[in-house]
Amino acid sequence: MTLIGTSVKRVEDKRFITGKGRYTDDIVLPQMTFAYFVRSPYAHANIKSVDISSASEMDGVVKIYTGKDIAESGINGVPCGWQVDFKNGDTMKEPPHPLLVADKVRHAGDAVAVVIAETYAQAKDAAESVMVDYEVLPAVVNAKAATQEGAPLVHEDAPNNLCFDWELGNPKAEVDAAIEGSHHVTTLDFINQRVIPNAIEPRSAIGHFEGHNDRYTLYTTSQNPHLTRLLMCAFVLGIPEHKVRVVSPDVGGGFGSKIFHYIEEALVTWASKQIGRPIKWTAERSESFVTDAHGRDHVTKAEMGFDKDGKITALRVKTYANLGAYLSTFAPAVPTWLHGTLLQGLYTTPLIHIDLEAVFTHTTAVDAYRGAGRPEATYLLERLLDTAALEMGTDPAELRLKNFIQPFDGVTQEGYQTQVALQYDSGNYHEVLHKALKMVGYEDFRAEQKAARENGKLLGIGFSTYIEACGIAPSAVVGSLGARAGLYESAQVRVQPTGKVSVFTGAHSHGQGHETTFAQVVADKFGIPLEDVEIVHGDSESVAFGMGTYGSRSLAVGGSAIVKSIEKVLEKGAKIAAHKLECSAEDLEYAGGKWTVKGTDKSISFGDISLTAYVPHDYPTGVEPGLDFSSFYDPTNFTYPFGAHIAIVEVDKDTGKVTLKRFIAVDDVGNVINPMIVDGQIHGGVAQGIGQALFEGTIYDESGQLLNASYMDYVMPRADDLPNFEVDRTVTPCPHNPLGVKGAGEAGCIGATPAVVNAVMDALTPYGIHDIEMPVTSQKVWNVINGN
């Protein structure tokens, strides 16, 4: 049976459905203490004094550290992993982000001190008794406002709060001229609001220093334990990497927020050595809200020109990207190389220019959140397309079909070179849209909509046809774009003497199901039962190295590394088999778990060869014993999944409530290993995309307080807010990796948001408005309907 392409049930499920998952907060170590952070209630303030005297006397307190202690210990702040330079070539502003701040707080939630105590409750009690005297200063929260004269400065050495400015695309003058000369120009001025990833498992970290061998272990809720280890050892603590083990056990969702190296990880690791005991920190949800990196937050003006036939002539974009108070690990890459580069979309737009300012504000840091830059690019393009169709009185589906890039497979036809640096690998954009239109029954829908309108009902349909870029690579290219890391992946395939296989991957699963899908690949290629394969991940002690999981890269990059190691195993296996079968390796073929001499029934099984490799009595000369190979895979290009999403909504005139009636998603993620898991990824992404469209968004007041910093106030989709999703796919293989896969983790979240907002706008056509700021809440819709 072929396992690739089959909806195998997940092997990891068993521990989760029986309550035996092992998340960081579930781990208890002997002598463990608990940390609680003292955090600033103000967004911007000078710290005049920190008094720990009465807190230190309290029951159970082991130790209290303040920003001063950290400054005096010579520990560095957490580093940024990506550098983007100013247009004029100057290096971006990179202010330090200390583990605890000593003299100034820059966002509500900034850590000022940490209390370590025998119990969690004691640490929390004592933290409340740490007396911090603040001198409150004015704050700025909006990215565009922060660049204006006289705005409060977040960092003294970043004038106008500018971290960097940046541009990409064709010469600005050419784009300007094309826009001016266009038959029609559609303009949107909007905010792509700040959202919070909100993995249901709060972040947690346990630092454990053991004196007998001078070794540190950090258990942490991370999407990439090896990178955390590297950053923490080399840049923050200055401790030897080979003396540090980082374990990311089961992790309860990440969506980007757990990619980054956070101060708490380094702090518990360092402090554990100081006090000689393990220290656990687990975020309370209200703490997560103000310390987990946020996502999106762009202030954008976008203009798209069209000729009289409806062909796009040019796209001009100006964006202010909010980075928050400090530079999170990959923050500079998100609005630039993950956003500006996606502005081609699926369209043949001949001229594109983006001008961007990346800005510090007195808010929590912003970094990659599911999609990271690509949702912002897609939102901008797809809102422009539907709005333009409305303005020009054309059909939004027709307008897209007219502007799509023609199909290309990337094998016999070349990849598509965009105006914004990327070369798409393969695509058939017409097909996904045609399929989605068929699923939705487009012609019938328009008739139904017309009838509904006559009956006073507001039905709307919205489109989004997106492209995204996954598995960003190769390392040399991302290095030239400012990445301070490589973006390859490693995999070790260890065939045990009994023919069982252990696979060590540098990718990390926190819901994606790698323990199943990766095992499918291995079992399929070796022709052995799935149960004979185990996938090991998330522990720097067992996995040699890894770049972790984000950017929908795991299968395309990590899976390819596994395939490389599989090939090495089969190649060596063939040499041993040839010796045993007394033929040459070229005479052998491998299928069904055995090597067979071509054209004969002489064969030898995978298990026999495995045993022979470790018991090499009768063995070819010049071949080493053992059957265990490592590989690193550095892709030659990104992969480019794409798709068409269609939303149908009904708006209640009396209440403004938007009900999502149907959601259709046709995605092309290349070849599919496990359809069930891919569908699940799409469902989850779509739900988050809908969340941004209709429910989610931070609310900061002018002083920098996050007013909706709890699950009671920050609205996320619940079960009864969503319909069943109608998902399907087309398959356009990736031409440049061995599995032909592209990546599915973010697609749903990238495509869904504009489809939903477009649908609401379509429903509200009778009211003649073209935009409502996200989230499109009942209140906003009601106001529009009532002419407010």
């Binding site: 989760f16 459905i17 029986t18 309550g19 249901i200 969702g253 069930m676 469902h683 079960a719 009864d720």
Partner: protein
Amino acid sequence: MQVEVSLTVNGKLYKQNVEPRMLLVQFLRDELRLTGTHIGCDTSSCGACTVLLDGKALKSCTMLAVQANGKSVKTIEGMAENGALHPLQEGFHQEHGLQCGFCTPGMIMTAADLLSHNPSPNEHEIREALEGNFCRCTGYHNIVKSVQYAANKMQAS
């Protein structure tokens, strides 16, 4: 100060001294080491901590351990009987109703309550019943199917 509390968890009687302010969820996780019950929030909004208290779904972060005195609690660890998975556990596995698994125990316990008083709920009823439980991974689509799977299976037997 410590207070004695005695309660049955997954069929076993526990008598223990606890701090009066200790939440039931902390008691389960920290004292009994039943870590299948999770904590996702501090406002009783996420449902990750849901257990059955005398057969009814309860967010165990909303109750003090001492308030559970004399009561009977069932957690995810007590759902499988004699090595056989509960139909809901089976349903979540069969229908891919979980990804990261963090919300799953709470979802299963909430759904168990639903099925105990409504053995064949429709999609709408399932969505309403699960409305107090956040899942950030699945978009709920497959969770609904998982509960339907369990309902069908329990009806058939």
